[in-house]
């Protein structure tokens, strides 16, 4: 299966924080074995969980497996969910731990399955603007750019990559990331800063000097 470039999906941020009561009802029903309720929870978070894992692994097949396994594991562990954090944060933690364990095992295996793209995206004005004619990006196709971007991300440690993916790609706040990563906000900021520095150096040819 190949990935395509498309307009980013609108993130419905109101879903998770604004309906905790409704969500807790679903969680409670799922905890008692109601698979319909759990199906609803999966539909709510499938795209975000999948996207996070995908950006961490840069591989669709791995992301597909890990996302499904994360939801299965979350269902099996629902009894241990005490509601101390939101279901969303708890689910994210499971997915992130699973992904990090997987990445540690995969350490030496790096492959990209992202070389197929929808080249119509090159007509997207935002992307065209990104490929400035004053930098070497002029000569780089989107495919190459995408590969370089993913290769650079894969060079970061898991914790640094996760900070960048959750903040700069997924758009999560420092507070949310701190809860997911089980660390304080200062640590998140520091990891983010260090990761960006590294990425800046790795992608120096592609990042337009400001």
């Amino acid at each position: 299966m190949t990935m395509i470039m498309a307009e980013p999906a609108e993130r419905n941020d109101s879903e998770a924080p604004s309906a905790p009561a409704e969500e807790m009802v679903l969680v409670d029903r799922a905890r008692h074995g109601d698979l319909k309720a759990y199906d609803e929870l999966v539909r709510r978070y499938q795209e975000r969980i999948y996207a996070t894992i995908y950006h961490m692994t840069s591989n669709h097949e791995d992301a597909n497996d890990l996302a499904q396994e994360s939801f299965v594991k979350a269902f099996q562990a629902l009894k241990s969910f005490k509601g101390g954090s939101s279901f969303y944060t708890w689910l994210y933690r499971i997915a992130v731990n699973k992904t990090i364990n997987f990445l540690k095992q995969r350490k030496n295996r790096q492959h990209m399955s992202l070389n197929d793209m929808d080249f119509n995206a090159e007509h997207n004005p935002d992307l065209v603007a990104l490929i400035s004619d004053k930098t070497p990006r002029r000569d780089a196709g989107l495919s190459e750019l995408q590969e370089k971007l993913n290769a650079a991300l894969l060079k970061l440690s898991e914790s640094h990559r996760l900070a960048v993916v959750l903040h700069d790609v997924q758009g999560l706040s420092h507070e949310e990331i701190a809860k997911i990563m089980h660390c304080n906000i200062g640590t998140v900021r520091s990891r983010l800063f260090y990761a960006r520095q590294q990425l800046q150096a790795l992608l120096a040819d592609y990042v337009k000097a400001t």
């Binding site: 190949t2 395509i4 199906d39 499938q46 995408q146």
Partner: protein, 150 residues
Amino acid sequence: MSENENDFEALRRLLALKRREVPPPGYFEDFSSRVIGRIRAAEAAPQMPWLLRLLHAFETKPAYPVAFASGLCTLLLFGIISVEQSPELVSNPALTGPMASFSIAPATGQSLASVVNTNPPADVALFGSPQGNNTYASPQMVNYSLDGNN
């Protein structure tokens, strides 16, 4: 920090490209049904062995392996401390009972040798009297002189 954010603005715009990487249309339509299918299959499968369940618990809750490792370290420390203290236990007759409490140090002032009689006197029961008087016999030093004066 906002200055840092500005420093990385170009990088952030580049990273925003990642948001456009999405699976083909329709991928998420049956995603939840695949998850539910896996849950049903897992429920129908035979129960995992305890070791696999333990590993599963470790994976789900990072606190478990930490607690497990801490427990192991505590046990190890306890073991080491116990072993280090064991010579004191052996040398303390009050703690080790009558069978092991003897000394082979020669009695001073004796002509040839002295030994310790480890046999209890006939009128002292080693393991308590039938009347329930469980006082242990304390070892008594008996000196044997071999100089022919006896």
